[in-house]
Symmetry: C2
Subunit: 221 residues, 2 copies
Amino acid sequence: MPLNPADLPSLGSAPTASEIIVKHIREAIVSGAFDEGEFIRQDDVAKLFDVSKIPVREALKRLEAEGLVEFHRNRGAVVASISEPEIAQIFEVRAILESNAIKLSVPKMTPNTLKRAKEYCDAFAQETNVARWSELNWQFHSCLYEDADRPFLLNLIRSVNDRIERYLRIQLTLCGGTGPDEREHRQILAACKKGDADKAAEILHQHITKTCESLLMNLRK
Amino acid sequence: MPLNPADLPSLGSAPTASEIIVKHIREAIVSGAFDEGEFIRQDDVAKLFDVSKIPVREALKRLEAEGLVEFHRNRGAVVASISEPEIAQIFEVRAILESNAIKLSVPKMTPNTLKRAKEYCDAFAQETNVARWSELNWQFHSCLYEDADRPFLLNLIRSVNDRIERYLRIQLTLCGGTGPDEREHRQILAACKKGDADKAAEILHQHITKTCESLLMNLRK
DNA sequence: GAATAAAATATCGTATCCAATATCACATTA
DNA sequence: TAATGTGATATTGGATACGATATTTTATTC
C-alpha cells in the first residue's frame, strides 16, 4: 500500500473545534481585522462559534506559541503588539531564511514554477485590493522557495511572515502603492530565470530589508 | 514610577498551572525522558500534577505549536517523531540561523562573553554526564549569540534546537564521546577572539552540518 | 479631591458529565 | 486458517456549572 495509515487520520478527518477557531483567529489577526492590543474575550469567541470556552482557550494557547497573541494573567489574551526593534528583527530573520531558501530553490527550479511566479507577479501588479495583494505577494514569494523541497524551512518562513503581515497590510492601507515591490519582484524573477541563485538571494535580501525600512518609516508617521 | 504596571503581572506573578505543565513536559521531551511516539495521557499528567484536564490540554496544544507533540484525533497527543529528512532540514535551518547570529555577534562581543564561552568549553570537555553535557553545549552556543542583541533570533534558535536535542542526547548516550565537538568549539572561539566574524560563521556552519551527519549515521545503525 | 472600600467583570481552574471514536479481544464466517 | 464482523473498553473532545482569584470600575468616606 502506498499510503502510510498512521499519517492519514489526522489529515482525513474533520478538524476539531479548537482547530477551526485557531484558523479563524489567526486569519483575523494576520489580516489586521483585530486591532493591535485588543483583548480577545473567551466568551465572545465561544458565542461566535457556538462552542464552550474550552476549545477557545486551547486555540488561544496555540496562538500564543505562534507569537500572535499574548496572555496577561487573569486579564486574558490580547493581539500581540510588536515593537519597532522586534519588527526589525523579524524582518532580519525573514531576509536570512528566505534568501537561503531561494538559494536552495533556484538550481532545482522548474519552468512551471517560473511560469506561476510570473503569473503571480503580473496579477500582483494589477491588484488594488489589500487582502488580495497580500495573498499574491505571499504566493509569489513562497512559490520561489517551493522547489527547494524544504517543508520545515518553508513552514518556518510562513510562521515568521504571519507575525508581521498585519503591519504590512496596515501600511499598505494607509499609503497604498506597490511600485518598488513589483520592480524588485521582476528582478528576482529574472535572476531565477538565469539560474543565478546568489544574485536572486542578494536581491531578495535587499528587497526584504527595504520593505522593513519602508514599513518602519510609515509606522512612525 | 519607572515601570509600567500593565507589563508586570505576566512576569512577576506565579506561573499558571498550564505554564508549569508546559515547562515540565517540554523538558521531559527535550531531554528524552519520553520515548518517541509515546502517548501522553491527559489523565495521567493531570493526576501527576494534581490538576484537572483543562490546563493539561492547553499545555499540550502549546507544545503542539512548538512541534514537540502531535495530536492524533480522538487518540491524543504523542511525542513528535521526526523523520531523517526532517532532522536534516532542522539542522540545515540551525546552521543558517546560528551562523548568521554569530556573524552579528562577533563584532560586538565583549571580553566577558569570551571568558564565559571558554569556561563553558572547558567544563564541556571534562563533563561525562549526558544531561549536563547537553546543557553546557547549549550554554556555549547561545552565549556566542547573545552579544548580537537579537532576542527574536535567539528564541527561534532555541526553539529549533529544542526539537532535535532529544536525538542528540540519544546519540550521545549510545555512542559517547564529544571529541570532535570540543575541538571545533575551540576553533570557533579562536575565530571570535580574533574578531573574524566570517570565519567563525563558516566553522560554526560546518560544525552544525557535521553534527547532523554524525547523528544521522548513528541513528541509522 | 484623594484615599479607601465595595461591586462588577473576566480569567483560571475544578468537577462531573456526555458523545464520538479508536483499539482490542473475541466470535463468526468463508 | 485467514479474513471479517462485533461488542466492550478506554480515551479524547467538548459541555456545563461552579468556585477562586485578580483586575477594573464605581461608590463611599474623610
